[in-house]
């Protein structure tokens, strides 16, 4: 996944997740890796007339009690750690993506 604002991937992933929930699907997990980890940064502060991508995600995670995992290796490389990670997101290992691939009926990747 690519970074929020830089590419549309974060917006598309958010809209898709919201639509899947609206249709009654269970979302096992949203896994953020590569530049996608930047979605979790609580310091994100876009212009007032633009959408706030991080807040959109946090609200979705909390309202629907979904597991949002931020890949630890990708996060460290990009300066994302516990001090800046927002509510609704948890740091986890890449193995949690493999677990998702083992368990999930469907897996959709939003890439640049």
């Amino acid at each position: 996944m690519e970074g929020p604002y830089q590419h549309e991937a974060s917006d598309s992933a958010y809209q898709f997740t919201k639509a899947a929930i609206a249709k009654g699907h269970e979302i096992l997990r949203v896994f953020f890796y590569q530049d996608g980890v930047l979605n979790s940064n609580k310091l994100m502060d876009p212009q007032a007339d633009d959408r706030h991508i991080r807040k959109q995600w946090s609200a979705l995670a909390i309202e629907n009690n979904i597991d949002f995992i931020v890949c630890v290796a990708a996060a460290k490389r990009r300066g994302i750690n516990d001090t800046v990670i927002a509510e609704g997101f948890k740091i986890g290992g890449l193995g949690m993506l493999t677990e998702l691939a083992i368990e999930a009926d469907r897996l959709v990747t939003f890439r640049a």
């Binding site: 549309e8 809209q15 898709f16 639509a19 899947a20 249709k23 469907r106 959709v108």
Partner: protein, 96 residues
Amino acid sequence: MLHLVNKSPFESMSFEDCLKYAAKGSSILLYEDGIYGAMPGSAIADRMASVTSDYKVYVLKEDMMLRGVDKIMDGITEVDYAGFVGLVEENKTASW
């Protein structure tokens, strides 16, 4: 199989790459900058017409609206995000 293409066909090979591997009869969803491939009257319109005879081609309505694209070629089906989820229900998904 559902193939997702999100790059402009005028700038990236990902649409053509996808077609090399996609089995005839499978589904292709154009979204993000991929939606430009659905515009009528472009230099790739003939190519797209032949693709629509071999594949089920869809285009994401929300990304068309955002980009001011309101006409699409015959043989391509408009879906919204709920329709996108529906396609994923029915198919494994490859993101190109």
